[in-house]
């Protein structure tokens, strides 16, 4: 229809991109501006502040316990530092555990068909019900095992819950590596393990990075499991964020947004750090099938 009017096609495309861009970026914009709004601009009745009338760091002072004036109707100063550290420990630990077990399992399944054709599906079954279904039984189990409110408890459950993702993602990456890669290394003198570490694993670096990032984000943003299984010693940041409300101030949108903004940083930094591996690039194109 636009044979003779390419500018119309261009306009249409631009419009679609713009709409999608606004749609995706608006929440980020809102959280960013909210984090710098003074309390009476958070959600006043009958008025929307598209941007803070005056940029302030009060919300950040609030959640790092350095706020000065406190009263009944202002948000109470708290300290989120330890909850962020807890999150870092639990999410990183869970990711490492899931990757350690999952990568080997995925290689076994992809290369040696370990467990037959049914095992991969069985592993995925672990994810087929909502976590809320297991959280209460888990709490009871954990209390017997004295794992409630411990980092080991959180790491264990994060590792277990994300393990199926690691297996499924890494399995497909391993399947893209020709069998001959490991065979060539073995004929040249490597052991099975040597071939895996020296020849196969470097071929799936991109997959490893992407999988680790994905699993880390899942663990990092978990709320439900942490809400039930963590306690004062291990409270993670999402649980802490949920607690940012008070009788006097109601929902403390400002501090919540400030903490949310901070919580974006670790996955973003992680993502940027491994960005070059996320581009799978030449790794897989180089072997002609």
């Amino acid at each position: 229809m636009t044979e003779g009017r390419p500018w119309l096609t261009f306009l249409g495309k631009a419009l679609v991109i713009l709409t999608l861009g606004v749609l995706f970026l608006f929440p980020l914009y809102w959280i960013l501006t909210m984090a710098f709004k003074p309390q009476d601009e958070w959600s006043p009745v009958g008025h929307v502040y598209w941007k803070p009338s005056q940029w302030t760091l009060d919300n950040f002072r609030q959640i790092f316990g350095t706020a000065k004036n406190t009263g009944f109707f202002t948000a109470a100063p708290t300290d989120a530092t330890s909850s962020i550290l807890h999150s870092v420990v639990a999410a990183t630990g869970g990711t490492i555990l899931a990757m350690l077990v999952g990568v080997f399992a995925a290689y076994g399944i992809a290369r040696y068909r370990a467990g037959g054709s049914f095992l991969p599906f069985q592993i995925l079954q672990l994810r087929m019900f909502p976590p809320i279904a297991i959280v209460i039984p888990l709490l009871i189990m954990y209390s017997y095992l004295h794992l409630v409110d411990t980092f080991w408890g959180l790491i264990l459950i994060y590792g277990a819950v994300t393990f199926p993702f690691v297996v499924w993602l890494m399995r497909s990456f391993f399947q893209e590596v020709p069998r001959e890669i490991s065979e060539a290394a073995i004929v040249d003198g490597c052991s099975q393990w040597g071939a895996f570490f020296k020849a196969v694993l470097p071929q799936v670096r991109g997959g490893l990075a992407a999988t680790a990032l994905f699993v880390f984000i899942l663990n990092w943003s978990d709320f439900l499991l942490a809400l039930v299984l963590s306690g004062s010693n291990t409270e993670t940041a999402p649980v802490f964020l949920n607690g940012l409300q008070s009788a006097g101030a109601g929902q403390e949108y400002g501090p919540q947004a400030a903490l949310g903004l901070i919580l974006i940083i670790p996955p973003a930094v992680f993502g940027l750090a491994i960005q070059r591996y996320l581009v799978r690039g030449l790794t897989f194109g180089a072997i002609k099938q």
Partner: protein
């Protein structure tokens, strides 16, 4: 250098597929043997068993009279070049070539290793690209890397599994002569798997033709071409396929009154087109199709509903529909028993 002796080697896969059946093969010191056959004939499985990547079900393989079944692949001192190169794309060309030396940790100094990599790179023609990432090379250069990587450990036996089948035609021809030269220089025993009979004929000292897991014939290229043991070998080898005619169709060619239950095998090169009334004509046929190939024509004919192919010089190209006679040198006719398909 090493000789290989394969003794009633059998490989049965789970599920009952017998990939290799009772294979006996002797590969002498420093010889170049081609395993030739269609896909699925068991040639790659045989290679995998020689290299140790796969364990046989029964039978034994000997390197210099030592049984090697219990020797792990890395200690068999074989070099393996795969059809899809299997080079390590995350490494430089240099590290790819040096890989075998590094993992074998043979007490060499770094300088020694460096010199060796340089020498191998020289041989395969990669001296200029040692610092490049192997993943960025052209397909042709990748296969050179694979060749160099398996050469550097000075394997007693070189195994090549259709190494050139992904290369373009001109480079394949070049690599064929290169490989033959390298084999000559290094004097290594080479086993070469291919389904391309031209490759096998042009490079190998001896050819083992396999089909459905069984050895059909083992002999020099001349023997395979001129005295095929059975109908399969006769039909598989030869760039234009051999003609198979019931003996009754051309009784003048079926010697000693052997016309019943015998099939004649005649290479298209042994036939000649003559005028239909020529006294030399053993057969009469009509021209169905002419394939001009430059140096020669392949003429497809129809003789009493039997397809016949004739390779002729392009000078006297017949027209489609022409009635022609086919003359034949009786000395170049092979005879096969219809019951057993074996040559008589």
């Amino acid at each position: 250098m090493a000789k290989i002796r394969i003794d009633s080697l059998t490989k049965e896969f789970p599920g009952g597929v017998v990939a290799v059946k009772e294979l006996d093969l002797d590969v002498p010191h420093g010889s170049f043997v081609a395993l030739l056959g269609p896909s699925g004939c068991g040639k790659t499985t045989t290679m995998n068993m020689i290299s140790g990547l796969e364990q046989q079900t029964s039978g034994e393989i000997f390197f210099d009279d030592e049984p090697i079944t219990r020797v792990p692949p890395g200690r068999r001192n074989v070099g393996f070049v795969f059809q899809n190169y299997a080079i390590f794309t995350h490494m430089t060309v240099y590290n790819n070539i040096a890989f075998g030396l590094k993992v074998r940790k043979e007490g060499r100094s770094k300088a020694d290793r460096h010199a060796e990599v340089q020498r191998i790179a020289e041989i395969v023609g990669l001296s200029g690209s040692l610092d490049r990432k192997a993943g960025r090379l052209s397909v042709n250069d990748m296969q050179k890397v694979a060749l160099g990587r398996s050469m550097i450990v000075k394997p007693a036996i070189f195994l090549l599994d259709e190494p050139f089948s992904n290369l373009d035609a001109a480079f394949r021809a070049y690599m064929r002569t290169e490989l033959k030269r390298i084999q000559h220089e290094m004097g290594q025993t080479m086993v070469y798997v291919t389904h391309d009979q031209v490759e096998a004929m042009s490079m190998a000292d001896r050819i083992a033709v396999m089909n459905l897991g069984e050895l059909q014939q083992y002999g020099s290229p001349d023997e395979i071409y001129n005295r095929p043991a059975n109908r399969f070998v006769a039909g598989f080898v030869g760039s234009t396929q051999m003609n198979f005619l019931p003996a009754a169709l051309a009784p003048s060619l079926a010697a000693e009154g052997l016309t019943n239950g015998v099939t004649l095998g005649i290479r298209p090169e042994a036939l000649e087109l003559v005028p239909p009334d020529d006294p030399r004509a053993h057969l009469r046929a009509t021209v169905g199709l002419v394939e001009p190939l430059g140096a020669k024509d392949v003429v497809h004919l129809d003789a009493d509903d039997q397809p016949v192919r004739v390779v002729s010089a392009p000078g006297r190209r017949p027209h489609v529909g022409d009635a022609v006679g086919i003359a034949c040198d009786p000395g170049r006719v092979l005879r096969f028993d219809d019951e057993t398909d074996m040559a008589i």
